[in-house]
């Protein structure tokens, strides 16, 4: 079985950037071994002496930086969407967290990626950080301006939510003992870094490190969300650049976050650096170009593109494909962000996907909102390219009428030309648009409302923005300053931002199926809880901790229900088989699509009818989806089946596909979203 460590090592050894310095990597490895061995000695002075030697050796060469090696985020690196959803508003806007692999909570991998674009430097940063912590312990514990803050942060990381108060008194002696243990552990793989590692890391890099912390755990956030200054600063200008890393993990509720790992954070522009070419996660395209013979089924498995899209791409020239893939990617990305609860602002979107036009952005945005079942009053009017949607301002009963009046194509006018709406109505329309962060640019606005002057438009807009900013209490954060931001670049109201948005609905925004329903968050959480209980057989104790709001009796109810249907996996299979049977009679729907759509809906906190079930039913693709689910679950439960066992269940899946999936899993990919 591979592990990340091995892989990173071998990958970095192969990468052209590091082949230039193989000795460096070897030296670092050797030094790490020395340190590890020294930790085995009972006498701490021995470790100190060895560390001091190692420190001297390391100081003979300096940490490379992005200036010396142009930083391009290496191919295949993707945006960490989960972390992105947690990315706080007060952090730099033009940066994104990336996913990166590693052991423990991989602070050093993250730092290396942030610094150079790949993880080749993680081992070295790790060793250097250990040396720094050990040799300058007194500085970190007592000598910095920030010492008290750092220690407080350490206290907070050492406790679970419920014990936060008691931890305040954790004596210095204990903290020091923990610091020592943490330092020693730093030379081993799989180490879990803490705030003090970040302080030492800043010194190692001789530059500021911006430790980005999600907008949660507000009481303790200030201790973690800060710019960490190095012990001493380098002279060179390039090294004075700030390095960004982010605390990522699990959002337990709107206000509670559990840090689990670190994510590198890089400027959006580096993702799109032309010389790197592949920086964009253009996986689909990549696959097509690397393997022209790749079959539709394989691609579909990975990216769920439609058959027609696939064949269209295959026919097209490389350039065409590239374009189409970019558009596809862009849309998917937007959709993912949307599902994750935040809408990528236009500016960021354009930086990432400059080829995709502004109007396309708005069209998609509009589509997604409507798709998610949000009734958006007056939305269509100002959105160029929006199509086929009814005129919202004309109100419920008149919808049919107005759509008759404006059958298609092009975007419908909010009012038919005979009925010139009152200024008040137009104003409220604009206000609604602003509250949805979909304010049309004046150019489009004018097309629809030619009788409204430019200055009136701007006045209304300003007013609407102020209103939004002061409006619903919770959405106020981060809005006020935005009046200056360009059109359409406003953050979406909080509804879209947090999964827990349910309780802060914008007054302008009627949510479908609101009121009597449980809040989307509760629904999602319950679904998730149920899934964990039934399919992953989460123990009761864990359940109680994770889902405090759900009663134990519910837990046992679910357990029993799952028990009746057989153990988790068997249950899956049965469901699949059932569907397959249905499928043959032509009444079922693609379960996977259904699930994905359902979860997207749930996650985005909206309810709507699912897309109409596909009429043509593909038995193979269903069983493939099922097979993937099966493999993924077995992988996660650490009981990965042999091919023989697997083919017993899924005789139609070829051996090669099995191995492909297996490799993907081993490489940390997710085959299916459940």
């Amino acid at each position: 079985m591979m592990n990340r460590w091995d892989k990173e090592q071998s990958k970095s050894k192969r990468s052209p950037q590091t082949t230039r310095m193989p000795e460096r990597a070897e030296l670092v490895d050797a030094l790490r071994c020395k340190l590890q061995e020294a930790t085995e000695w009972p006498d701490p002075d021995y470790l100190r002496a060895v560390t001091s030697d190692v420190g001297k050796l390391l100081s003979s060469f300096s940490v490379p930086s992005a200036c010396e090696r142009n930083r391009n985020v290496s191919m295949g690196t993707e945006v960490d969407l989960e972390a992105k959803a947690l990315y706080p508003e007060d952090a730099p806007m033009d940066m994104v967290p990336l996913s990166c692999q590693g052991q423990g909570n991989h602070l050093f991998e993250a730092a290396s990626v942030s610094l150079l674009g790949d993880s080749s430097l993680s081992a070295e940063l790790q060793v250097r950080t250990m040396v720094e912590m050990l040799l300058h312990k007194q500085y970190y514990l007592k000598g910095m301006i920030d010492s008290k803050i750092m220690l407080q942060a350490a206290r907070f990381s050492l406790c679970t939510e419920e014990s936060a108060a008691r931890m305040d008194q954790l004596p210095m002696a204990i903290l020091e003992a923990i610091f020592d243990a943490d330092v020693k552990a730093t030379c081993f793989p799989g180490t879990f870094s803490n705030m003090w590692h970040i302080y030492a890391l800043a010194s190692v890099l001789q530059r500021d490190v911006y430790s980005i912390y999600p907008m949660s755990n507000m009481k303790i956030r200030p201790y973690f969300n800060r710019i960490i200054r190095p012990r001493a600063r380098a002279g060179s200008a390039c090294q004075s650049q700030t390095l960004h890393v982010m605390w990522a993990g699990e959002s337990l509720s709107r206000s509670v976050f559990r840090p689990q790992y670190f994510a590198p954070v890089v400027p959006v522009s580096t993702l799109h650096c032309p010389s790197s070419g592949e920086a964009l996660p253009r996986n689909t395209l990549e696959l097509l170009n690397m393997d022209p013979d790749i079959s539709y089924s394989m691609l579909r498995e990975k990216y769920s593109i439609t058959k027609s899209t696939f064949y269209r791409w295959k026919r097209q020239s490389w350039e065409h494909r590239q374009k189409a893939a970019t558009r596809y990617e862009a849309k998917q990305y937007l959709q993912q962000c949307f599902s994750a609860g935040s809408f990528l602002p236009l500016q960021q979107f354009r930086t990432r996907f400059p080829e995709v036009s502004r109007s396309t952005y708005y069209t998609w945005k509009h589509e997604m909102l409507l798709g998610a079942g949000v009734r958006v009053p007056g939305l269509d009017a100002g959105i160029p390219g929006a199509n086929e949607n009814q005129s919202p301002l004309s109100g419920g009963s008149e919808n049919t009428e107005s759509s008759k009046l404006h059958p298609r194509p092009g975007f419908p006018r909010p009012f038919n030309s005979q009925r010139s709406p009152s200024m008040q109505l137009v104003k409220s329309f604009l206000r609604n648009c602003v509250s949805l962060n979909m304010c049309p640019p004046y150019k489009s606005f004018r097309k629809t409302y030619p009788w409204i002057s430019r200055s009136t438009y701007y006045n209304w807009r300003r007013e609407a923005m102020t209103r939004v900013a002061l409006g619903p209490k919770d959405s106020a954060t981060g809005q006020i300053g935005n009046t200056l931001v360009g059109l359409g670049d406003l953050q979406l109201p909080s509804l879209y931002k947090s999964r827990a948005g349910s309780d802060l609905r914008s007054p302008f925004l009627p949510l479908c199926g609101s009121k009597s329903n449980p809040s989307p968050l509760q629904r999602t959480e319950r679904e998730e809880a149920k899934r964990r209980v039934q399919k992953w057989r989460m123990p009761h104790s864990v359940f109680r901790v994770r889902y405090r709001t759900i009663s134990s009796s519910t837990y046992f109810l679910w357990r029993r229900a799952a028990g009746h249907q057989g153990a988790g996996l068997r249950q899956q299979r049965r469901e699949g088989a059932g569907l397959r049977a249905c499928g043959e009679t032509g009444v079922s729907l693609d379960r996977r699509q259904h699930l994905v759509a359902a979860s997207t809906c749930l996650r985005s906190g909206m309810f709507s009818l699912l897309p109409a079930p596909a009429k043509t039913f593909n038995v193979t693709s269903l069983s493939k989806a099922e097979a993937k689910l099966f493999l993924q679950q077995r992988f996660e439960s650490n009981t990965f089946p042999t091919f023989k066992e697997f083919s017993g269940f899924y005789p139609l899946t070829p051996r090669s596909t099995y191995y492909m999936w297996k490799r993907a899993l081993i490489n940390g990919m997710v085959l299916t979203d459940y």
Partner: protein
């Protein structure tokens, strides 16, 4: 979730280092249990072959490293000794993540420490990764005269919790080495089960074009 899942999976399989490393696998192991049951003594006996009758209650947390050879493989054990005192309990749970094995200890002369086993077990289930292996150890079996927890009760509880069970003495060096070796074996067994499933794939499959080449996987080292 996928993210943390991936790293969790890695660590479960131990840390296979590249060949120039000083070990083949590294296992993180924690010793937990009430204060004064003998956790620190147990670790010192194992790592340094020493014992002191004086009681110095552990503050916070520390670890010792011991490299052992099983089946021609070098396995580095990173053994974390935790403070048993109630007031430190939440600190130590922060260190459960990434642990592949636990030694859950009670003192056979101390009823209370035995009664706490259930809670410790819950603690493991709550804060550690799935599949962490646990061994229940009744320590101080040299003090037969003062025994209050019969071996049978220990055995039953272990069975109930699904753990293996040992009686041991740090003082007289009874079953100390055996405990660690058994734990290592259990972890290895778990590992080779997964390897069994995983092995042919990685060597056999080169078709995943989008993926990077992998170095050859370790063999079933741990069929020990």
């Amino acid at each position: 979730a996928a993210h943390s899942m991936a790293s969790a999976t890695d660590a479960r399989f131990g840390q296979k280092e590249s060949s120039d490393q000083n070990f083949d696998y590294m296992f993180k192991i924690l010793i937990i249990g009430n204060s004064s049951v003998g956790k620190t003594s147990f670790l010192f006996r194992y790592a340094d072959d020493s014992f002191t009758p004086a009681f110095v209650s552990t503050v916070g947390i520390d670890f010792k490293v011991k490299t052992i050879y099983r089946n021609e493989k070098r396995i580095k054990l990173q053994i974390w000794d935790t403070a048993g005192q109630e007031r430190y309990r939440t600190i130590t749970t922060a260190y459960y993540r990434g642990a592949m094995g636990f030694i859950l200890m009670y003192d056979i002369t101390n009823e209370e420490s035995f009664n706490a086993v259930q809670d410790w077990s819950t603690q493991i289930k709550t804060y550690s990764w799935d599949n962490a292996q646990v061994l229940l150890v009744g320590n101080k079996c040299d003090m037969e005269d003062e025994r209050v927890v019969l071996g049978e009760r220990g055995r039953q509880l272990a069975e109930h919790l699904g753990f293996e069970y040992f009686e041991a003495s740090a003082k007289d060096n009874i079953n100390v080495k055996q405990t660690f070796e058994r734990l290592v074996d259990i972890i290895c067994e778990k590992m080779s089960e997964s390897l069994d499933a995983a092995d042919p794939a990685v060597t056999g499959a080169k078709q995943g074009t989008q993926l990077n080449d992998q170095p050859a996987p370790p063999h079933q080292d741990c069929a020990c």
